[in-house]
Symmetry: D2
Subunit: 427 residues, 4 copies
C-alpha cells in the first residue's frame, strides 16, 4: 500500500527526478483529460504527457483492442521481426497518413523514444551526405543522448553531457534576435561565403514549433525559405515532429500548412496512441541506404504500441478531428489573448500554434508560480523556455469544451491571485 | 488481413530492418518458450528477445496483473511523476533485489532502452569526475546512440555514426590478445606511465559476458582485478548488465559471483518482466549528483512495465529460480561440449556462462547457416561476434526440460546436416 | 648554378608550393622595396613577405648588427635558455613598445611562427578559463596547425585538416552580413540566451584588419564593443596581430586607436625585423599561469632574430615612423579611390587601413589577373579574400615616394590593360 | 649591458620559460661543442640544442657562406617563392641525401618547426586515406600544436591543450609493457578484430628512438614489423625524424639500418645546419596530392637556413662522418656501461642509440640532480622521460675526443658526488 507522501521516491529514486517535484502527488488512475491521485483528488490534465497523450488517457477503443490482444497472448516484444500487429500498423499508417498527403516515406522503427529517432535521423543524414556537420537552431530541443543533445540548445542540459558537444553549428531560429532580423538571410550568408568557417552541413534539424524551447512557432514562410536554402545547397531537412506532430498544432504533421517536404521526419510521443513507447523515423526512399541492423535496439518491436497506434489512426480517417482541433485552438488563443489584456501586470505574450500555446512573462519565476498555483487548484500544466518563462497549455486534443473551460478557469484564477499578491508586495 | 509473405515490410519499412531477414515469417502469438506465426507454425524460442524475455512470453501472472491494471484505467504514461505503480516497483526492487544483496543504489529511470541507461551512466561518470575520457573494452556492445556507440567496438556499427567517435580508449577484454596475455597488466601500464597518452578516465564500462561481442565471458578474477585498478586510480566502474543481467548468467546481477561492487549498473531488456520497454540506472548514493531533469525523456514512466516488472521480481523472492537456472546452464554446457566433441569439423569452442552460451566456429558463415537451418526446423536462434562466428543459445530462463531438449535436438540436427553437406562438398 | 626555369622546383618540391606559381621566377637578391631575380630583372615589392618585411629587405642597420654578431660567434640557437641577445630584446621591447603605451604584458616566445603564437594563446585561454569553446570570426585567418586552423574561416584550408575542426563557434565579423546588420547585437543574443546552444567561450580571437580574409577592416567602435562584450561575460580577448601588427596599419599594435586592451596579443611576421622567424605571445601578467615548459618548441631562441628585432625597434623610438606610415596610407587611399572612380568597369571597392589596403572587384578572376599582369610589369602584389577577389597593396612601411609611385603606375597600367581587354571581349 | 642575474627574464618573460631554469646563466657566445656565458665561464655542450645543433655551434664553413650571403643582400625571407638559395638546397639534398639512398621523396617546406612538419604529415595522411584516426605510440613526442600534441604521450603536455585530444589511438611502443611482451602482435589484434573499437587508421607516426620520451630505442626488427603491419592494412607510415634524424643515431635518417621505407618523413632541428629554423616534410611522390597552398605559413622560405643547410650536407658527401659518429657512439656506450657498473647505487640502465644515449635511474629526482651538478661543473646536459628519469648525452656529432672526455669526466664526477651524498643520507 502506497502513501501519498513521496517518501519512497525521495529515498529510492535518483535526484534526477523532476516532474514529481512540480506535481507532488502520487497518481493512480487517468481517463481522457482527467487524472486522479491515490487520495482520489481529480486533476484536469493540460500537460498530456508533454505531448505523448494527444488522445487523452486510456482511450476506450484503444484500451479494448489492447485488452483483446493481451488476452490472446499476442506477441509483446519482437525486436524487428515481422508481426501481425506491426504489419497492420504499417498498412494503416500508409493508408491513413502517408497516401492521402501524397507522402512517400520508408518507415524506420528506431528504439522507442524521441531521442532515438533523432539519433537515427542524424546518423542517416551524415551517411547519405558524407558530411559530419549539422545545423541546429537556437532553443531547439531534440533529446538527451549525446547525438541529440549536440543539436539541443539548452545550456543546462548541454553541460550534463560532460564532454564538448560537437559537429553542430547553431543558427538563429525565426525571430531569435529580434522580430526584424531576417535569420534566413543571415544563415545563408554563412553558407555562401567560403570564408565563413561554417561548412555545408549534412542536414538542418528543427521543430516547427519549439515546445521545450519556449513555444516558439516559426512562421510558415520562414520554414518554406529554410527548405529552399536546404535544396539550394544540397542539405537534408530533418523535421523533428516528436512534440509538435500527431495533431498537436492542428494537422497530423506540424509542417503540412507550411507546404514543405522534409527529407526525414522524426515521430514519437503520441504516435503510440495511448502513451506507450514508440518512435518512427520517416525517410525519403532514395535516402534509405541503411545497411541491415546498422541502427538497432531491443525495443523497436513494441507490439502493444503497434496495437494502440493502429487504432489511434482512426482519428485521422476523416477531417473531423482536424476541425475540432482548429476550433479548440481558436478558443485557447482567445482565452490567452484575453488574459494578456486583462492582466497587464503579466507583461504577457501569447505564443505558439494549435493546442501548443502559452503565455510568456518576463517576470522572473512568475510562470512557474502560476503553474504551481494551478496544480494546487487541480490543473496539471507545465512551463517551458530557457528561463521557464512560459506557461503552456497542452491539453489532450480530444478534450471537450467542459474540460477546456474548467482548465481556463483554474488558470485565470491562478494568474489573478498571483498578480494580486505581487501587487500587494509592489505597493 | 496479413499474409505471410513479408511484402508489406519490404515495401514500407526501411532497409535497416534486420531480424526479419534472419527469421522470415510473420509472428502472431507467443507463450512461454514458444512462438507461432500467422500460419500457425510453432517455433521454439532460443532467442528470448535478445535477452529481453528472460521470463518467457506472456507469463500468466504478469499478464493477469496487467489486464487488471488496464481494466481499472491505471495510468499508462507518467514521465517521472509519481504513480502508485512506480512506487510499488521501487519498493519491491529494493526489498527483493537490493537489500538481500546488501546493495545500496539510487534508482534512476532513464528513457526505456538499453542505450539510454548507458548514456546516462556515462554522463554521470563524467560529471562526477570532471574527466571526459572513458575506457571501454574490445567487442563491448552498449548501444546505438552516439554516446553508447562511442564505447561499442563493432566497426560496422561505428561507421554508422557518420562522425568520429571520441572520448574513449578501447582496452583489451579478458583473453582478447591470447589466453596468456594478462590484459589487466597491460591496461595498468597505460594508466601508470605518464607518457602513455592515455589519461586517467572518468570510468571503465564493461559487460561481464559480452553478448553481441561473441559470448565472451570474463573470468571472475579478471573482473575483480579490473575493479581493483579502478579503485586504485579513482575510476568509476560501470557494469552494463543490460543483456547479462536479470538472471541470464545465473544470478540477478551477472557480477554477483565476481564479488565486485560497481559504482553504476545499467539494466534494461528483461527488467520490465514481459518485454515492455524499461531501463534502470543504479547509482551509488554518493555519486547521485544529478540536477533535477538533467537527463530526461518522455517514456521514463512506462507504468505497464512497472506492473509487469514488479510481478517479475517475485521470481527472485527465494533462491529456487537461481537454482533452476544453474541446472539448465549445466545441461546446456554438457550439450554444447558434446556437440563440439561429436562434430570436430566445426572446430568449435564452447563460450559463455549460464543461459548465455554458444559455440564459435572459425568456418566462415557456418554459424549463420546453422542458425538458418535451425529456423527452418522450428527454432529461433541468433548469431553473435564480430564475424557472426558464434551461434548462441538464449532460451527463456523459465524454459522447461522438454523445451530445452526440443531445442537441442533441432540444433544438433542443423549442425549434423550442415557438417554433412560441407563434407560432401569437401570430397 | 641555377637556371631561371623553375624545373628544379617542379621536380623536387611538393605540389603544395604556391607563391612560386604566382611569381614564377627565381629570386636572388633584395634591398629595401626591391627584389631581383637571377636574370637581374628588378621588381617593386608590394607584397613585403605577406607582412613579414615591414621594414623592407636587408635594412642596413639590422644587417650590420647581424654581421657583427655572427662574426663574434654569437649564440645562434638557444631554445629558451637565457642569452645576451634575448635579454637585450626583452629590455628594448619593454622600453620602446610596452612602457610608452602603458601596457603590461609578460612576453612568451612560442615556436617562431604565427600559427605557434596563436596555438599558445588558445591553449592558455582554455587553461585560464577552464572552458573549451572559442569564438572566432568569419574570414579570420590564424594559421595551419590544427588549433589555429580551427579558428580559421577559409573552407579550402579547413578541408585540408582531414578531421572535423572543433571547439569553435564562428560569429559574423563587422559588416559580414551587410553594412546595416549589427553583428555585435547578434553575437550577444547568443551569449545571453541560455537556449542558444553557444556556451560562454574561453576567448574570442580576431584580427582588427583581416588580411587573408579580404582586407576587411573592423570599425574601431565595433572592436570596442567586442571588448565590452568580452568583459561582460568574462571572456578573454585575443588579438591576432601577426599580420596587422608591427606598424602595418599605422601604429605598432593595430588596435591602439580602437582604445582596447586585449588579454593576449599574438605577434610574428615583422617582429623579427628583417624576415627571420620569430613570434611573441603577450600575456596579461595575471593570466600567465603556464607551468614551465607547458608549451615549448625547439626554435624559440632564434638569436639572429633577437638581434635584428632589437635593432628594428629603433624605428619606434620617436613618432616619426608612425607619421610617415600615415602619410603613405593617405596616398594609397587616394590612389585606390582614384582607380575605382576612373575604372568603373572594376566595380571596385576600396578596403583596409594603413599600408594594408586593396580593391575588391566582384568580376570573377579579375583581381588575380591584375596581380599577374602587374608581375609581368615588375610588381609583386598578392590577392586575398575567400574568392581571391581583392588585390592588396602591402609595400614595406619604409618605402619611399618614388617606390610608391612606381608601384602605383604599374598597378594602374595593369588595371587599364585588363579593363580594356575585357571591354574588347565584351563588344 | 646585461648582468648575469636573470632578473630581466623573471620580470619580463612568461613563466612558461623552462631551460633557463635548468641552465641558469646568460649565454653569450658559442663555438663547436663549447658555450660561454657573459662572465666568460666555459661550458661543454652535451645538449646540442636538443638535437638542433648536431654540427656544433657556428661551424666555420657555414658561417663563412652565411656572411657572404648576407653581405650580398641575398634574399632573407621568401615564403615559398623560388630563390637561388632554395634551389641550391633542393639540388644538394637530392644529390647528397636522397639519390645515394635510392629514396624518392617530394620535399615540402612547412613552417620552420618540428611541430609544423608533423602537422603537415598528419594532414596529408588523412587527406590521402580519407580516414581521421592516427595511431601514435606511448611516450612519443611530436610537438605542441594541437595536431602534434594529439599524438604526443606526455600527460602534462597533453593537459596543456585545454581540450580533449582526439582522432588518435596510442599503442604500446617496443618494450613498453615489458621486454617479453610483443607489442606488434598486440597492435595487430586490434586491427584485425572488427570488434576492437580501433578503426584502421590513416597513419602510424613514430620516432625510431624516442628522445623526450626517455631515450627509448625501438629494435630494428620491431620497426620492420611495424612497417609490415602498415603495408598489410594500407596504413601510411610516418617517421618523425626531427630529433633522431640528421645523423644523431649514426646515419642521416635514423631508420636506414632498419631497412624500412616510410611514406612520410618529418625533419627539422639540425636540418638547418647551424641552428636556424627549418623543417622539411618528405613525401612519397604518389602521396603528394596537396593542393597549392593547402598547408602554408610565413616562414617557409628561411633562406639563411637554406644557405647553412646546403653547406651542412657536405658532411654527408663521403662516409667518413658516419664512421666518426659510430666511433663516438661506441665510446659513449662504453662510458655509460662503465658508469652503471661502477655505481650500482644508480640502479642504472643504459638506453638509446648513436649519439642519443643516456642512463635511466629509478631513484626519484636523481637524474635531474646529476644534470644540475654537471651544470655547476661546466656541462650542459638534459634529462628526459615521463618522470625525467634519464640523463641524456647529446653532444654535437662533430665533437672531438677531448670534448667527449671532458664531458665524461664531469658526468662521472657528478654521479660520484651525488651517489656519495645519498649514501651519507642513507646511513
Amino acid at each position: 500500500m502506497v502513501n501519498n507522501d513521496l517518501k519512497i521516491f525521495e529515498e529510492l529514486e535518483s535526484s534526477v527526478r523532476s516532474y514529481v517535484r512540480s506535481f507532488p502527488t502520487v497518481f493512480k488512475k487517468a481517463k481522457g483529460y482527467k487524472m486522479w491521485d491515490i487520495n482520489g483528488k481529480e486533476y484536469i490534465d493540460f500537460f498530456a504527457g508533454a505531448g505523448a497523450l494527444n488522445y487523452g488517457h486510456n482511450d476506450e477503443k484503444m484500451k479494448k483492442k489492447l485488452l483483446e490482444y493481451i488476452a490472446q497472448d499476442g506477441i509483446v516484444h519482437s525486436l524487428d521481426m515481422a508481426t501481425e500487429a506491426k504489419a497492420n500498423f504499417l498498412e494503416k499508417f500508409n493508408e491513413v497518413i502517408l497516401k492521402p498527403r501524397n507522402m512517400n516515406y520508408k518507415v524506420m522503427f528506431p528504439g522507442p523514444t524521441g531521442t532515438n529517432t533523432v539519433e537515427s535521423a542524424l546518423k542517416l543524414a551524415r551517411k547519405v551526405t558524407g558530411r559530419t556537420n549539422v545545423i541546429s537552431f537556437t532553443n531547439g530541443f531534440h533529446g538527451m543522448t549525446i547525438g541529440s543533445l549536440s543539436v539541443t540548445g539548452n545550456s543546462a542540459k548541454r553541460q550534463g553531457a560532460g564532454i564538448p558537444l560537437q559537429h553542430v553549428v547553431t543558427m538563429p531560429y525565426d525571430n531569435f534576435v529580434s522580430n526584424n532580423l531576417d535569420t534566413v538571410e543571415y544563415l545563408e550568408r554563412f553558407l555562401e561565403d567560403n570564408g565563413s568557417g561554417v561548412d555545408i552541413p549534412a542536414a538542418m534539424i528543427l521543430e516547427t514549433v519549439q515546445g521545450e524551447g519556449g513555444i516558439n512557432a516559426a512562421k510558415f514562410e520562414w520554414l518554406k525559405r529554410i527548405e529552399e536554402v536546404c535544396k539550394r545547397w544540397g542539405i537534408l531537412l530533418i523535421i523533428d515532429d516528436v512534440q509538435a506532430g500527431v495533431g498537436r498544432t492542428g494537422t497530423f504533421f506540424s509542417f503540412e500548412k507550411a507546404g514543405i517536404n522534409p527529407d526525414i521526419v522524426c515521430l514519437s510521443k503520441s504516435i503510440g496512441g495511448n502513451g506507450l513507447p514508440l518512435a518512427l523515423t520517416l525517410i525519403k526512399p532514395e535516402l534509405d541506404i541503411w545497411n541491415p541492423g546498422e541502427h538497432n535496439g531491443t525495443f523497436r518491436g513494441n507490439n502493444f504500441a503497434f496495437i494502440t497506434a493502429t487504432e489511434s489512426l482512426t482519428y485521422w480517417e476523416t477531417d473531423e478531428f482536424e476541425k475540432s482541433i482548429e476550433e479548440k485552438s481558436v478558443k485557447i488563443t482567445e482565452f490567452l489573448n484575453n488574459i494578456v489584456e486583462k492582466y497587464p501586470e503579466l507583461n504577457g505574450k501569447v505564443k505558439g500554434r494549435g493546442l501548443m500555446q502559452g503565455i510568456s512573462t518576463p517576470i522572473e519565476g512568475l510562470a512557474s508560480e502560476i503553474a504551481a498555483k494551478a496544480f494546487e487548484n487541480g490543473l496539471i500544466m507545465e512551463t517551458a523556455g530557457p528561463e521557464d518563462e512560459v506557461f503552456k497549455l497542452f491539453p489532450p486534443l480530444t478534450i471537450d469544451n467542459e474540460g477546456l473551460e474548467k482548465g481556463f478557469k483554474i488558470i485565470e484564477e491562478s494568474v489573478r491571485s498571483l498578480v494580486a499578491s505581487k501587487q500587494l508586495v509592489g505597493q
